[in-house]
Symmetry: C2
């Protein structure tokens, strides 16, 4: 029985293989999800004694004694492996008897009913099969997007999602924190943004302390937090707390009273953005910042005479994609100056190729044919790319749609080996039109886990979706056991059912 603690790890730096081994504690190889790169199990069994069991650092592990992320993980997983031992529930008295290579718990239950006036004793033994695992992720970026603008998600719901993410080896929480409907991020520098732009200035915001709690909780689970402040579109809520930020739309020759995307022609816009992103880069330690850049509607810009005059002055003619490119260049440069790498939605590539080479493009549009073409084009231009298009998991349908998420082939596009290497990973997106804390968890799990295996495991070893089905069913039951309200895949049952309270 050996714990493997080495392997290729570039993103994040600490070791997640560890977790796989622990999943085996009480379960068969078949229940492991996502599938390790290599796993060998033998019928040889060893007893596990919770009183003597402990985790330790491998001698060749990059992380050594005192690594808080691992130390905390040791505690969490000990409880998951020995839940009854850890919680003490049902036991008024527990005794451990050592006998014949086994550890026995002697459990004394004092039942509070008339029929059982005495004491019932029984034994619980834990075993583990001798198992060797060698593992590493196929893609370094395995993300989940939550949208906290269309509906506010209480911090507790985010933490719960982070917990579940770790169980499926997701390592990036893409926090689409603000958008048109609301601005829940409470900025230190611009408190009016949430005071006026959130659904409620007190109850529907993320304070600095909330954000810190999310980042720290995520870090302890091997998860990076990637913040997105999407602009110049998707910014209606920003305008409520920051006057002159959005473009005034015109009806004929006078302002209509409505506003469009961020106003790209004013120096004050870039000053505001520089200050905001300076704060963001100090609050979110991750080296990446997501800048959005998607779905910019040109009609308001077109209606505004000042914008049209600026276009002429800049030599953009009537090509508003040039104005958009001009805006995004400025924002990306702000990010570069802050020593952060930008991630932007594919739109930015589609209309404009002159962006820093280390920018990551994020594909979200279209059906398999079209995202394959986009993968091909973006990697041919030498950019790194993230794939989200086939994993818009907010789009629900009747039946086992997890199969669609599972059978995605991220590298199935025409391109060289070098191009393929530029696909750094993928992302499951849970946009918030129809999702809040009431339905988030069962809608996300275990459907997202299908994508998780695609991003972690070897494609050839996991090409049979029917073979994956019973293993995913087992894993879903394991999620239930760990307190994640994951929905069922089909008819059947788990040993530990969610009680529905």
């Amino acid at each position: 029985m050996s714990v493997v603690t080495s392997g290729r790890y570039t993103f994040p730096s600490y070791n997640l293989v560890f977790f796989i081994f622990l999943q085996l504690g009480l379960h068969s190889v078949e229940g492991v999800w996502p599938l390790p790169q290599s796993i060998t199990s033998s019928p040889e069994r060893y007893p596990l004694n919770p009183q003597a069991f402990y985790f330790t650092y491998g001698s060749q592990s990059a992380a050594q004694e005192g690594c808080s992320v691992l130390d905390e993980a040791f505690k969490r997983y000990f409880s998951l492996i020995f839940p009854d031992y850890s919680s003490g529930r049902f036991y008024s008295e527990v005794k451990f008897l050592k006998c014949k290579n086994e550890v026995r718990f002697k459990v004394l239950l004092n039942l509070n009913v008339v029929v059982a006036s005495g004491v019932i004793t029984f034994q619980i033994c834990y075993y583990v099969n001798k198992t060797e695992i060698k593992d590493f992720p196929r893609f370094q970026f395995r993300g989940i997007l939550l949208d906290t603008s269309r509906h506010y998600l209480p911090v507790q719901a985010i933490l719960k999602t982070l917990d579940a993410m770790a169980f499926s080896k997701f390592n990036v929480f893409h926090w689409h924190i603000v958008d048109d409907p609301s601005f829940p991020y409470q900025s230190r520098t611009f408190p009016d943004l949430s005071a006026k732009g959130a659904f409620h200035p007190m109850t529907h915001i993320y304070t600095q302390s909330d954000v810190g709690r999310v980042i720290s909780f995520a870090r302890m689970r091997g998860i990076r937090v990637l913040p997105e402040f999407d602009s110049p579109g998707h910014t209606q809520s920003w305008g409520k707390g920051q006057s002159d930020l959005l473009t005034p739309c015109y009806s004929g020759s006078s302002p209509s009273g409505t506003f469009g995307p961020v106003n790209p022609i004013l120096p004050s816009t870039y000053k505001f953005m520089a200050t905001l992103f300076k704060e963001v880069s100090s609050v979110f330690p991750d080296s990446y910042i997501h800048l959005g850049g998607d779905e910019v509607n040109f009609s308001c810009w077109k209606s505004n005479p000042d914008v049209r005059a600026f276009m002429l002055k800049m030599g953009f003619g009537a090509d508003f994609t040039k104005l958009e490119a001009y805006y995004m260049e400025n924002i990306v440069n702000i990010t570069v100056a802050l020593n952060r790498t930008s991630i932007v939605w594919q739109d930015v590539f589609d209309y404009h190729e002159r962006i820093p080479k280390d920018t990551v493009l994020h594909i979200w549009k279209g059906l398999p044919a079209s995202y394959a073409a986009e993968l091909s084009a973006i990697t041919k231009a030498g950019y790194r790319v993230l794939l989200a298009a086939p994993w818009y998991i907010n789009h629900i349908s009747y039946g086992q749609d997890w199969r669609n998420y599972y059978t995605v082939q991220p590298l199935n596009f025409s391109g060289t080996e070098e191009q393929k290497k530029l696909v750094i990973g993928g992302e499951v997106c849970m946009w918030g039109e129809y999702v809040d804390a009431t339905n988030l968890t069962p809608r996300l799990w275990p459907r997202a886990s299908a994508a998780a295996e695609r991003l972690w495991s070897d494609e050839k070893q996991t090409s049979d979706v029917d073979k994956a089905f019973p293993r995913l069913q087992d894993f879903r039951c394991e999620l239930l056991r760990r307190g994640i309200q994951a929905e069922p895949l089909f008819v059947g049952h788990c040993k530990h059912e969610y009680q529905g309270v």
Copy 2:
């Protein structure tokens, strides 16, 4: 301000109008769902003093002092109207000062943080607008089907659903308690049915005490419990605990080892069914029993030489619908002998019209055109009918599909006025292939509420789905406030968000 306690009530006998009035306690007329037949509200406001407020029986009410259903409802709704008063949460000391036609709560909060070393006081006042409501349901049968065979639903999840049902004025819980995958009903007479047919003989069953608890909990909320023991199809799980009940299928000239529908040719089958339904009718007090009768697959019957011989003997030739009809007639007659009225799925009408005239047919098949034709045909034959086809709410899709459930027109079929009167109501079906306690509540609510209004309210007053939208949004928030984890209809927020724990 008057509480209306009279009106047309045929099913159930006790008065549900009462509940509507109470919804007004803290909310505007716009938030009332389903819409009452008549509601008049004036700007004239009255203070509500929780210390002086009490419910009483109207002098013309059919129910009078000592009606436990109303007395219990008084308690529940008092807490819903005055939640802070009832729970005492946040208050270390509450004082009531009477002043100028108002009741004030003086609330002394001792905050346990350094910045508030003193005592903060504020006031809470409850008001109600002068409102008069006259109300009665459009249809007498407004049901929800839960399927506890494809997935086991813990009793707690059923009780939660009953609570939510009452808030939308559903009055029938159709308990599809057993089916092919599992037999969770623990029979007194045939304990092997659940011991061998449930997913687990101890943890995935409904004991007699569980069933009693469900019935009593439902009764207190004005809800009848309609049990369904579906046969002769959908009975695979029955065969595990009752040998010789199912038809042995043949492969060529020998039994294949698999089993088909209930064996309709053996006297022992009817003896068993008579005994089982005798128990069922003693456990479930409702005057209706649902007998199923849907989707009988003939291939196993066809393969069995004994069945074929019986067909010839009975003069059925090769028409297996005649055998099916023969079976259902026997089962319906058992129910009649027990002084119960049968409800059966439409299949029974489709293949065979010779059924007792008081049998209720339950339409579940097809698109609007086909269920309208079925409504027409069944009512023309003089049978009462229930409509479920347009409300198969387990069929999820992306977006606001509640609009489809709302715009159903149950009486929009060709037929006389007499025929229309035979439509006694409708039912929302939540089949269990992809649903268990993890996702039941947000999947059911508020989508089922759309059907609830269609079944309760006047069709002309509720013909505009866009006008209904904000009212349903308000109602969904009210469900959240009452502890029902109802999912959002679209972008936005509630004052009381579900915390996601």
